[in-house]
Symmetry: C2
Subunit: 311 residues, 2 copies
Amino acid sequence: MSAGKSQMNRILVTGANGFIGCHICKLLIISGFEVHGVSRTAPSGAQPNGMIVHTADLLTAGAPTALVRNVRPSHLLHLAWSEPKTRALMKIENVEWISASHELFRAFIEADGRRAVFAGSFAEYDWDHETLHETRTPARARTLYGAAKNAVRELVEISGRESSVSTAWARISWVYGPHEPRGRLVSDVASDLLSGRKVETTAGQQERDFIHVVDVARALEALLIGDVRGIVNVASGQCVPVRMVVEILGQLAGRSDLLAIGAKAMPANEPLRLAADVNRLRVEMGFVARYPLEEGLAATLDWWRAHAAAE
Amino acid sequence: MSAGKSQMNRILVTGANGFIGCHICKLLIISGFEVHGVSRTAPSGAQPNGMIVHTADLLTAGAPTALVRNVRPSHLLHLAWSEPKTRALMKIENVEWISASHELFRAFIEADGRRAVFAGSFAEYDWDHETLHETRTPARARTLYGAAKNAVRELVEISGRESSVSTAWARISWVYGPHEPRGRLVSDVASDLLSGRKVETTAGQQERDFIHVVDVARALEALLIGDVRGIVNVASGQCVPVRMVVEILGQLAGRSDLLAIGAKAMPANEPLRLAADVNRLRVEMGFVARYPLEEGLAATLDWWRAHAAAE
């Protein structure tokens, strides 16, 4: 896919140094975008070649507006948020992202931006439902993280309605892959197995939709280049027991002996099944995920092997 | 109703100088609460006898926490918001109330508060539905005001879940009555008629649930004293055409000659009917509104007559 030569496509990517950000920026540069990546922390040196780097704390009021006025992007991809670790889901900082994200989008409208894509989350959905559909399943968060995402989505929808900006809201399922920070299922299990640490998990019967981060990046790129509007589930469409993910990692690492599946109690109210309806992604966008689960997990383990020394 | 003598009931009322605030504070003092009223602006001298007055701008980060630590209330009634005029519904300031309101509630939890009631709005509902029910009708705002209220509600629900605070969210329908600021239907029509100004309205076929502000205050008092949790519609249960409200005001003022009903075009997408389901209010709380529409409008006109000089 090409972003076109006739009109300059300049994209501002927030959270460019993050888990998803570092994958999508590479793709966007290849697609012909002029990529401006912003992160809270100074660049680590691992930025893709050709990315124009900005450092800003978007949670400072006025910072999103100053950044957008400086870059004047035609496209916006808003990935930035607080660390995606499970224990961060109830932090107050999530609430601060509401006004920061809204300010960013308002500045983008004022700067005559054309297309904006936001990273939403399955945490926005009411998890009393088994199959999560963009419009048929009600939004009802369990965490401040999910509630803040819901708030940003509603504010963006309303502020965008009277503008000429086209927007899409990517609701991303359980993403895993290279560069995932520790503190989440796949990153913790993969790195623990390779370090020879015992892995204690729940019985793992709960079923989730796991998607490889490169597939997420490809879907976000397709969303940015296209004009599909509103909420789109970005998910693999495959709903598997968490236990299966853990067992595959154990087998691939050759360390199934380290697994203690069932050693931890299932948290109360943990939903048994959260499947993604991926009709919009498949039918309207013609998008197909490339990574089957086993292949995606193998690639993730390879990455951890290469980065184990750095840990 | 009595708030009880055995345990001290100290309530913090935000927006105490506002339209609803000035009515409810009087009731709460009579009920035996120690009432701490906070407003952005310094007191005008019209505060009810016995109210302890605080001045604070709750939109300043840290201000809600400092106030709550100072007052240490057992009860919280959060009414404060930006001016409720129609043209303010899309102002950015609405978004600032999200984190301010959430900070207020978190501080209340930390100060061992027991019961909190919040002013929500019918602007939270998806207006593609004709009858608005607390849980069966989806939330989907059309304005930043409504979206911000939705966000506060979801954040309060989540933050309150693991606390011992009991909370209720009053979704208030179209409130009218004495002390309503200009810029809304009843206040504008009433004051225009009494001043001999021509009144131009839409055809007014759209049906809404109007409730007198004293009935709203009584319902909020009942919510504060009781323990009903979650969303409760605070509405009259009577859904009437806007035209009828205008015509009654014209007749009561003896100035039907000033009415030009139909002179203004109906805004696009204006919902034809927005009725309130008031089963929770009536059955669970045993609450009945006291003001029939005509009586409530007559009382409102009386108030405007007495205050015309001050205008």
